[in-house]
Symmetry: C2
Subunit: 136 residues, 2 copies
């Protein structure tokens, strides 16, 4: 069916994890969602699977770099398929959609700022909040 779900389950088995029915169901639901989601939403899309398993699987998928976690302004948590590579987020406060973007010049400036503060940079996150093109 969904190529995404298949490649994700491959990444699981390569990582030495079992590909079980609950996990497949969760991966399908994520692929179908097609965007950012909360654990709450994911759980309701896979009623046959226990809450704990959803949590455990999402954590596993993060570790396998299939999913990435996005923290909203209010501290609430969402997940979405990770696009891989370094990028930033445009987060729509109306529909919740998270769009990725990247800008080498932006990253250069970020490193420059860190450097001039004597700061040894490990990671950084840049989240833009507002309204996306279709909601504005």
């Amino acid at each position: 069916m969904t190529t995404q779900a298949e490649s994700s389950s491959e990444r699981l088995s390569v990582g030495g994890h079992r590909v079980t029915a609950p996990r497949r169901a969760i991966l399908d639901a994520i692929a179908r969602a097609g965007g950012p989601f909360t654990i709450e939403e994911l759980t309701s899309r896979v009623p046959a699977v226990g809450r704990a398993t959803v949590f455990r699987t999402v954590k596993l998928l993060q570790e396998s770099e299939v999913l990435c976690r996005v923290i909203l302004e209010d501290g609430s948590v969402r997940y979405q398929l990770s696009r891989g590579g370094h990028h930033h987020h445009l987060i729509c406060s109306e529909c919740g959609t998270v769009t990725d973007f990247s800008d080498p010049e932006l990253d250069r400036l970020i490193h420059e700022n860190a450097g001039s503060a004597g700061f040894q940079l490990d990671a950084h996150s840049l989240e833009l909040y507002g309204r996306c093109a279709s909601c504005a």
Copy 2:
């Protein structure tokens, strides 16, 4: 004593809030901390004050723009005296210190990126994680 605590309590009374003993104790503790802190730490520094009051006061101080909230990579929450004005954070993963910086050019690029994605920007947060000058 601390000028900071005094000016903060002024901001409270100007906002129509009472300056009570617990609130003064909390403001003192924050001023003494001199850096970012968790609710947990703050509570233990003011043993005479109830947990709920610490939470309520910290929320009040955020609304009064005395404190700002910083969310770390792992989703945990810290607070620190707000420097006012727009700025970003350098967060040391070793000692937890949060240093502010700002860069107009950086902000310009951020708005540019939002604009070219058709995104109507309300706010943004940029957090740099790594090790500060003294820890590196």
